[in-house]
Assembly symmetry: C2
Homo-oligomer: 165 residues x 2
């Protein structure tokens, strides 16, 4: 694609000079996130024949040896319960997760990684981290920290105002 006269068009291509600075920033934030995600999706498929949704699911469970309730998992993944149920079915049939009755709530289930699921995740996570380091390689440690701090302030603001419609 380099050297091509064809413009790169993406989620940001609808921005115009008239748009407010905040809107232009949001469109760039969205386009940047989507472009990183697209590379990660493509590589997870090519290297591990898996999806980003499955990878994110395993990543959340990996931090919590005792497992998570389905509802907690939905919240952390920011997806609906229906999606989590479908992913759980798929990953359980592959032997990567198991569902146990929740000791604190007889009507609920907890999901946790199996040893095979943990091994599979760790293999993917090692490569995933290397991809991310590669994609963010243009920024210095200082710039990474600066960006992280600015994004943290947006995140807090969104949490503070987000609930009010």
């Amino acid at each position: 694609m380099s050297g091509s006269a064809r413009a790169v068009l993406d989620a940001e291509s609808r921005a115009t000079r008239d748009d407010h600075d905040a809107l232009r920033l949001w469109l760039r934030l969205l386009a940047t996130t989507l472009s990183v995600e697209a590379v990660v999706r493509q590589r997870l498929q090519a290297r591990f024949s898996t999806t980003l949704a499955r990878f994110d699911y395993l990543a959340q469970l990996e931090r919590v040896p005792q497992g998570l309730r389905m509802r907690e998992l939905s919240e952390r993944l920011m997806v609906t319960g229906g999606n989590v149920t479908g992913l759980t079915d798929a990953l359980a049939s592959e032997g990567h997760v198991v569902r146990d009755p929740d000791p604190d709530d007889r009507r609920a289930f907890r999901v946790r990684l199996t040893p095979a699921g943990r091994r599979a995740f760790r293999a993917m996570a090692g490569e995933h981290e290397a991809w991310i380091v590669e994609l963010f390689t243009g920024l210095s440690a200082h710039e990474l920290a600066q960006l992280r701090a600015l994004l943290g302030r947006i995140k807090r603001q969104v949490r503070a105002t987000g609930g009010t419609i």
Copy 2:
């Protein structure tokens, strides 16, 4: 939720202190984007009974009076052709878009906004911009510009390396 001892958990909650700075930044970038998107989704539904996918679709068309080919639209929206076909069917049945044969390619179609679609989009876009300004209000003009520049460098790096698996 304010005053609650319950930790806020999201896409970033899987980050640990051991993770590489680039990975921690990526998880924050993802969590920030998802949190803004969640507010926008919720408000589009509450105010206009519409989805983010439809809003983004109309936003891309609004910049291009002569319309876009389905494939161009897929690229800009960063979604698959199947999704664009489904969205086009839904928006056409509401009278917001029309499909015309492409004058440059008899096997292809172009999609463009109808006047009603343009009016509907503009009403939504005005409120959408106000929401984004509100959500990003914690940052100064200088910080918005700084963030935009840093994200632009990541986006370029991703484009430069993304194609290679």
